[in-house]
């Protein structure tokens, strides 16, 4: 297929069209809305594959097509489409996973009254996400970024009649907004300095050499290079959207949305947008690397945030009881891994992990959705159990996802991408802390996934809902099987023996450390996975006679630590106590100011108005009204007098005519006119 950057707009346009159709479809048109959404996704997938073929023909070339969007005074704002392997791989992933999740939703949302609205929102999300991927302009990217946030808000709050869902939607929107503010400031600054937001524009784009040299060569307050400052501001957006510490608090709450939404948006695609953004502006983040006398390099901050997030997410996931919350914190942790890989200089490893993670995390979430659907919306691990015997397909695919996420060696995709990240961290000359954090998170990941899978599928059913669960229809298990196949097979696109993905993604084979150069590290991480799985099995796998109210073994061993982790390290409470309270104070202050200062001023004005109204009334009633009354009386009298001339008597009129005739005749006879 001959596909170029000029045609890229069609990829987001298809789901947008489906969203338009969905928005116009009445509630009864379920087949139309869902059919349009799924057909659009499949169409977009085919187009994305075409784009991938084109991009892989010249992996190192950034194909772009720019055009003028609008003119404001003398400023011509130009946007465009960008086609490179990064865009193409991401688009293929989003459309493929998206199409499967759309199909899964057919089964999951079957009983929902607002089925058509759901598919309309899903399509809107897909359109915005794909628009974000193909944008060659940071402005267009920002527009789609916000649209993605809107779609996320709408879908988290899809069951808005639940107060928790409405609150979670609001929280997600506001928390990501804090990051977006940084992103917006970064973009404004960049536009102010460079006069354009196009990424690639024949040498004039912000990510091209001329711009980067200028940005790295300028120093701003605090000794930072300008590129560092702008890069960190842009990274703020990524922190918010990708659930990085300290703005990770919204992501677990976002699980109040329907499970397919969690799979698509809050595991596979949207939260990866932050990683994608950093990878997109990677030349900008790299620009300060050569400078020696700056306080901090942009990528060092990225690596630090990523490392903290990876460990934090994995630790909190150990103590959660809600299936989706365990997976949510796991997502936070894995996103931290990706940021860590970006920070230590291997964006290729980050994107590799992003793509693999998208498949197996979507698989895990859809598996969780299958369990939740079968168990009548029971999400608490303590109240499930024993589902493995009755839900064999879900159990098998969930197990594949678990092993991919835990990084079980050789067969599973997650192993290869995780190894790529760890080896990139090992090769980082600045600090070995990210590597240690990454290794610690490996143990924790294997441990909490073992806890989760044994809790759901093994043992005896602990409630009636779990006891009555049965396998779902093929429309739900089909996507699970396809994703499980991907979770196994796709890893082989990026093994060190055949690094096809890596070499195509970057255009050149990345000069990070090859896995063969540090075989000890690989053995160590395999050993850690085994330790994690083994400990998990020892603690949870052989428990007998447990019921829904049994205390978790970890809670028995270390109640304090477990409680702290279960409370998510108190971040929410901390934010409520600090920012929330500060906000309340500011609001109270503003309220007082409003009430007393502005309010006083306003009531003073009102008094003045009242007084002048009084004056006005006096003038009106005593002066104007009386005058008018008199004039009216005079007019009425005159009217009565003259009305006698028009009494309706024909003879009266005729007499007037005769009188006029006589007068005219006299005037003529006496020569008055002549």
């Amino acid at each position: 297929m001959n596909f170029s950057a000029t045609h890229l707009w069609m990829i987001p346009a298809l789901p947008l069209l489906a969203a338009a159709i969905g928005s116009l479809t009445p509630r009864g048109g379920r087949k139309l809305a869902a059919g349009a959404a799924i057909a659009a996704m499949i169409g977009a997938f085919v187009l994305s594959c075409g784009a991938l073929v084109t991009a892989l023909a010249h992996p190192a070339v950034h194909g772009y097509a720019n055009f003028a969007w609008f003119t404001l005074g003398n400023e011509v704002v130009r946007v465009g489409w960008l086609l490179d392997p990064l865009t193409a791989f991401m688009a293929v992933m989003v459309t493929f996973v998206g199409a499967l999740i759309f199909i899964f939703s057919l089964g999951y949302m079957k009983e929902d009254r607002n089925f058509t609205r759901f598919f309309c929102f899903l399509s809107l999300f897909a359109a915005a996400m794909l628009g974000l991927l193909v944008a060659n302009s940071l402005l267009l990217l920002f527009v789609c970024w916000e649209l993605v946030g809107l779609a996320s808000y709408l879908l988290i709050g899809f069951w808005f009649h639940k107060p928790a869902a409405a609150a979670a939607a609001k929280k997600a929107f506001l928390t990501t907004r804090i990051g977006d503010l940084g992103l917006l400031l970064g973009l404004l600054w960049l536009y102010h300095v460079r006069g354009t937001l196009l990424c690639y524009d024949g040498g004039a784009g912000v990510l091209e050499q001329g711009s980067l040299t200028a940005l790295a060569g300028t120093t701003v307050a605090g000794g930072f290079a300008l590129s560092t400052a702008i890069g960190l501001l842009i990274f703020c957006g990524a922190i918010g959207k990708s659930g990085q510490f300290p703005l990770h608090v919204w992501l677990p709450d976002a699980m109040e949305g329907p499970t397919p939404v969690s799979a698509l948006i809050h595991a596979a695609t949207m939260v990866a947008a932050g990683v994608f953004l950093v990878a997109r502006v990677y030349p900008l983040m790299l620009a300060d690397q050569a400078l020696a006398n700056v306080p901090v390099h942009a990528l060092t901050v990225v690596a630090g945030i990523g490392a903290i997030t990876a460990l934090l997410g994995a630790a909190i996931a150990v103590a959660q009881n809600d299936i989706k919350r365990v997976l949510a914190f796991s997502t936070v942790s894995q996103l931290g891994y990706m940021m860590l890989a970006l920070g230590v200089g291997s964006w290729v490893a980050a994107i590799f992990h992003l793509l693999m993670h998208a498949f197996f995390k979507a698989l895990l979430f859809l598996g969780a959705g299958s369990v939740i659907h079968a168990a009548h919306h029971e999400q608490d691990v303590r109240r499930l159990g024993g589902l493995g015997r009755r839900m064999k397909a879900t159990f098998a695919t969930f197990a594949v996802g678990t092993m991919a996420l835990a990084g079980v060696p050789f067969l599973f995709s997650g192993f290869w991408s995780k190894e790529a990240v760890l080896h990139a961290a090992h090769a980082w000359p600045v600090s070995s802390l990210p590597l240690l954090v990454g290794l610690a998170a490996v143990v924790l990941t294997a441990f909490y996934m073992t806890r989760l899978i044994t809790g759901i599928f093994l043992g005896a059913p602990r409630t009636d809902a779990a006891g009555e669960a049965h396998e779902n229809s093929a429309v739900m298990t089909g996507p699970l099987l396809i994703l499980a196949a991907c979770a196994i097979g796709l890893g082989f696109l990026g093994t060190p023996a055949w690094p096809w993905l890596q070499s195509n993604l970057g255009g050149v084979v990345v000069p990070s450390e090859s896995i063969w150069e540090a075989p000890g590290l690989m053995l160590l991480s395999i050993g850690l996975v085994v330790v994690g799985l083994g400990t998990g099995w020892a603690v949870y796998g052989r428990r007998r006679n447990v019921n829904a109210s049994s205390v978790d073994p970890l809670a028995q061993a270390a109640p304090g630590l477990f409680a702290v982790l279960a409370a998510r390290l108190g971040f929410d409470e901390f934010y409520v106590a600090t920012f929330g309270r500060a906000n309340t104070w500011v609001a109270a202050l503003a309220d007082g100011f409003d009430r007393h200062v502005w309010g006083g001023l306003v009531s003073l004005l009102a008094r003045f108005g009242e007084f002048s109204g009084l004056l006005n009334r006096e003038a009106d009633e005593d002066i104007l009204n009386r005058g008018f009354d008199r004039a009216s009386a005079a007019v009425r009298g005159a009217g009565q007098t003259y009305s006698r001339a028009q009494a309706g008597e024909a003879h009266g009129y005729l007499r007037t005519v005769a009188l006029a005739f006589v007068v005219f005749a006299l005037v003529l006879l006496l020569g008055g006119v002549r």
Partner: protein
């Protein structure tokens, strides 16, 4: 006495007769009749001035009169329709009683 003066005197007499009829009679039909007489007096003046006062265009006076007759005919039609409506309403034709515009 020139022919023009004779015509004007005749026309004046005709007008006076019409005026007296219109003013003195109370029957609506007779009042209309008087008005027609006055109109015809005016028409006679047109013809007389055209004939004896050396009009250069051959047909001006006649055309004028023809228009006046056409308008008078239309007016008579409207007037007679009013007369009939008046009769239906008050069962006589006395103009003194036809003073109300409604009812």
């Amino acid at each position: 006495m020139s022919p023009l003066q004779g015509c004007l005197l005749l026309s004046a007499a005709l007008f006076s007769v019409g005026l007296v009829i219109a003013l003195a009679r109370s029957n609506a039909i007779l009042v209309l009749l008087g008005i027609e007489l006055m109109l015809n007096a005016a028409n006679l003046n047109f013809i007389a001035f055209w004939r004896f006062h050396g009009g250069t265009a051959p047909a001006t006076g006649v055309i004028f009169v023809l228009f006046a007759i056409a308008v008078a005919a239309a007016e008579a039609a409207v007037g007679l329709a009013l007369v009939i409506a008046l009769y239906r309403h008050q069962k006589n034709l006395r103009l003194q009683e036809a003073t109300r515009l409604r009812g």
